[in-house]
């Protein structure tokens, strides 16, 4: 309703203001008046099927559902009058007749909406003496446990699929008492947001599978934190027992994650307790890594770092590392005389300067209002699920979302138009759009075809729009060129330009970098080589855009690694390995891609002897005799960071330099890289349940059917992929989403460490 007039209603004798078109329950909720409910949820459409929210309304002959009764001026309602109470109790009795009384063994016990409401509205003894309904439960994948006998048919989970996740997988089949909620044909649900139905389910029908039988709700303490796997920075509640993280659930923040959480942010805590979690410092002795005491390891680390030629000393840090960690790392390095530090391991091109502080270019809430969005090299749905949710809202509201991608990634809304082309053709595709807008095409011969003209027109006609470069674009060897073209398009069309970045703190890292002396970039280090390198939460073989080169670089250097997990690569290459606290175990601050600085405390005790990275860095600073390294607490560090960052703001302005020429040439066969959503960082790669979902990488090389036919290969054939000096043998998969003459072999996944850049010429043959 557009007219913002207010009306007055009276509930339980209290006068309340409301807007026409609101449902009664919205008004009572805002006023803090409790009306029991099961099917109503503020983010879902109204179903009015549970009949729990029945209230008495003046002049209505029967009780009305508060969730589906629009307010009217002067309306009078009573939420706990005898009529209302009697109706609510009646519903409660009906809900309980077929609900199992297995609360003692139910995971929802203690936090069950049904249990809570039953306390207030249930009767004592059941008058229902027949056998209760038993419903077979389906296996819907590794994330969600189902116990459908407990289902009360509120359909929240079904509506969530249709309205929020955008894939309708759950449904209500059958009718009447036989109606069953489920997927009908058993399969694992494949939504990157599926875990939210666990929160939505008011009873114990849908619960977290990894959390199953792990703890009871009342044994848990709740801590607030920030999720650290993508640029959204979702707010979370962390449930802890005996200093261990048992579960992660979303915390409402309308400006960030609303009420939702991506599966990656919800389930990756599992990795904290995985087998290769590092519990003790290690040092290379007699060729192998051996456990040592902290003291010894720290002294040795300081010696290595101090002893290195400052010009040939560098640090590589995760783009998810906290502001505090990055600041201390930079100070440590500077104290040792080096400015060679970078977090942009996944970036594929450094030939021209980056924008001052790359960010989304808009606030999340603004994204919903875009009338046109052009995604470039982005599987936004999987990369940044909750940012994608905002884009989806824009699309559902009529916004035109377009994509120029090297793979026909699927989205949970319909794209207005798309160009799916070989990675080497992406720049050309963008140049076409630029040309249609009369913008500079960076020297590319550009004639816009009708589709590019349409894309240009959509952007031009939008009152508000966005050109967004995704993580695939960022890892592209011609990223600088793509970025320049995208900027030209955005400028000519009068829309915003945005970057999604990697990790949870890429914007924060850039903010810090903006105030620091420049040293070597990742690319510079790869070219010049290092004598000593400090790694902060990095798995070089998977985090780097160029694993082979990274291997070569670090193979020659002394490596001091501050990490949470031990990998085979570290076993082979690192000299000193220092176990650090993982993200839920430490305090810090992250800057999300809309520029919010969000701080959090540690929620659980670090595993084994692991210590927070900021403390380790502080000790290293002390041991290296660097001035001013006596921080008492992480807040001291943050205070200093905030001083450094005064006046630093997200800023996508790029220096007006000439764009570099395209260097990714067309070839007989091109590799398409990009990192799948469950391989983006050290923790996610070790989150067991996520690794068993349909979204986990299938360990095969994907080509399209025509190419497979042309090569005489079939789905499942064992094939050898060769790139630069590396090769890899895997089964072949046939997938229509892959453009011709391309093979999809992601980065960040097992096997990728043997190869070169995510994009480039490769060859393929039968093994």
């Amino acid at each position: 309703m557009s007219d913002q007039q207010t009306i007055t209603i009276e509930v339980d004798g209290k006068k309340l203001e409301a807007t026409p078109g609101q449902m009664l329950i919205e008004v009572t909720d805002a006023a803090g008046i409790t009306v029991p409910r099961f099917c109503y949820h503020k983010k879902l459409s109204v179903a009015a099927n549970c009949r729990m929210c029945l209230v008495e309304v003046e002049n209505a002959p029967k009780p009305l559902p508060a969730c589906a009764t629009p307010v009217a001026d002067g309306m009078k309602a009573w939420t706990c009058s005898p009529l209302a109470r009697q109706a609510q109790k009646g519903t409660m009795e009906f809900l309980l007749i077929n609900h199992p009384l297995d609360c003692p063994i139910c995971d929802q016990g203690g936090e069950c909406e049904l249990q809570d409401v039953a306390m207030g509205f249930g009767g004592g003894l059941s008058r229902f003496v027949e056998g209760k309904r038993a419903v077979k439960s389906e296996d819907i994948g590794p994330l969600i446990a189902t116990d459908m006998t407990r289902c009360i048919h509120c359909t929240r989970c079904v509506r969530f699929g249709d309205e929020i996740a955008g894939v309708r997988e759950m449904g209500a089949t059958g009718r009447g008492e036989h109606m069953k909620i489920g997927v009908y044909v058993e399969h694992a649900v494949a939504s990157e947001l599926s875990g939210n139905i666990i929160d939505l389910c008011p009873v114990g029908a849908l619960t977290s599978k990894p959390f199953r039988y792990q703890a009871r709700a009342w044994e848990l303490t709740t801590h607030d934190s920030i999720a650290a796997h993508d640029g959204v920075g979702s707010n979370i509640h962390v449930h802890v027992r005996n200093h261990q993280v048992m579960r992660v659930v979303p915390k409402d923040n309308e400006a960030v994650n609303e009420t939702w959480l991506s599966d990656r942010d919800r389930f990756s805590y599992q990795a904290l307790y995985s087998e290769d979690r590092l519990e003790k410092p290690l040092m290379r002795k007699n060729g192998g890594l051996a456990p040592v005491e902290w003291q010894e390891a720290l002294l040795e680390a300081a010696t290595v770092l101090k002893g290195a030629d400052a010009d040939r000393l560098g640090a590589l840090a995760s783009p998810s590392a906290t502001l505090e960690e990055l600041h201390l790392l930079r100070r440590l390095l500077a104290g040792l005389g080096s400015n060679n530090m970078d977090t942009r391991l996944g970036q594929g091109d450094f030939r021209s300067a980056d924008p001052a502080v790359p960010w989304l270019g808009q606030k999340f809430a603004e994204v919903e209002n875009n009338q046109a969005v052009l995604l470039i090299g982005s599987w936004l749905r999987k990369d940044q699920p909750l940012l994608n949710h905002r884009v989806r809202k824009a699309a559902l509201a009529g916004g035109k979302v377009m994509a120029i991608n090297p793979l026909d990634y699927d989205f949970n809304f319909t794209l207005d138009s798309k160009v799916v082309c070989a990675p080497s053709a992406m720049a050309q595709a963008l140049a076409g759009v630029a040309a249609a807008l009369g913008a500079d095409t960076c020297g590319l011969p550009a004639e816009a075809v009708s589709q590019q003209k349409a894309m240009a027109a959509n952007l031009k006609n939008a009152e508000q729009g966005l050109v967004l470069l995704g993580s695939v674009a960022q890892s592209h060897p011609d990223f600088c060129l793509l970025r320049r073209l995208a900027a030209n398009i955005a400028e000519a069309a009068g829309v915003s330009l945005g970057f999604v970045g990697d990790g949870a703190n890429s914007t924060g890292a850039a903010m810090l970098a903006a105030r620091a002396e420049t040293g070597l970039s990742v690319e510079g280090m790869l070219e010049q080589g290092l004598d000593a390198c400090l790694l902060l939460n990095v798995e070089p073989e998977y985090d780097s855009a160029h694993p082979q080169a990274m291997n070569a670089l670090l193979g020659k250097a002394k490596v001091v690694a501050l990490v949470t997990h031990l990998s085979p690569w570290l076993e082979a290459q690192a000299d000193i390995v220092l176990p650090i606290a993982a993200f839920l175990e430490t305090a810090g601050s992250l800057v999300n891609i809309q520029g919010d600085i969000q701080s959090f405390n540690g929620t659980a005790r670090p595993v084994g002897e692991a210590r927070p990275a900021w403390k380790v860095l502080r000790v290293l600073g002390n041991l290296a005799d660097i001035e001013g390294f006596d921080y008492e607490s992480v807040t001291d560090v943050l205070d200093e960071v905030m001083k450094v960052l005064t006046d630093v703001h997200p800023d996508n302005q790029m220096p007006q330099a000439d764009a570099p020429e395209a260097r990714l040439a067309d070839s007989d066969l091109q590799r398409i890289g990009g990192t799948p959503l469950y391989h983006t960082d050290m923790l996610v790669r070790r989150a067991q349940a996520l690794q068993h979902t349909p979204d986990a990488w299938k360990a095969c090389l994907l080509v399209n059917p025509e190419l497979a036919q042309a090569l005489g290969l079939e789905d499942g054939d064992s094939v050898v992929l060769r790139q630069d000096s590396g090769e890899l043998t895997l089964p072949l998969g046939v997938d229509e989403r892959v453009p011709g003459n391309c093979v999809w072999m992601p980065t960040g996944v097992p096997g990728s460490e043997l190869l070169g850049k995510g994009f480039g010429a490769v060859s393929l043959e039968k093994a």
Partner: protein, 181 residues
């Protein structure tokens, strides 16, 4: 978003629809699709399910339901929901002739129990079962809107009213003689 009236969303629309059904079946489904607004192809789902069910000897399979979903660009679960909600869709194999006997009030008052008993005896099966030779399935149904001719049953598209055991026998006799095609 409190009020919604949109077709079920499916973003992975299937392009090659030719291979899903025979041209005749596609033509028949398309006739139904044409009755509804363009964006509401899914309105034809009930007809499409009926058409493929008839073509498949009277029952639906998961594969057929999936094809209908693909053909009409609907999420599969939405098709399962429809197929399991309406009683005229069969989800497991049925006999060549499905005898749908009404046992609701009017028919009950007029002796449908005798008819059921007679059918069960003659066919050697209970309600809900299929004869071993796959010829007949016996199904209890709710009021078919022909209570003036109670007791009654429906076989195929045909209603048979004012049934007596003798009449039932002669109907079954003639069906038994007709050997399908």
């Amino acid at each position: 978003m409190s009020l919604r009236c949109e077709p079920w969303a499916r973003t992975d629309k299937r392009e090659d629809k030719e291979n899903l059904f025979s041209p005749e079946i596609r033509a028949e489904i398309d006739q139904w699709v044409a009755k509804y607004p363009d964006e509401w192809k899914q309105s034809a789902v009930m007809a499409a399910l009926r058409i493929v069910q008839d073509d498949n000897g009277g029952y639906l399979t998961e594969e057929l339901m999936d094809r209908v979903a693909d053909y009409l660009d609907m999420p599969r679960i939405a098709v399962y929901e429809v197929a399991t909600f309406y009683s005229m869709y069969e989800l497991s194999e049925v006999g060549q002739h499905k005898i749908c006997v009404c046992t609701n009030v009017s028919c009950m008052i007029c002796g449908s129990e005798n008819i059921v008993e007679h059918l069960e005896k003659r066919l050697g099966i209970k309600l809900g079962e299929t004869t071993e030779d796959g010829k007949f399935t016996l199904k209890e149904v709710e009021c078919l809107g022909a209570c003036g001719g109670a007791p009654m049953f429906q076989i195929g598209k045909q209603y048979y009213e004012n049934l007596t055991p003798e009449l039932v026998d002669s109907i079954l006799d003639s069906l038994e003689q007709d050997n399908g095609e």
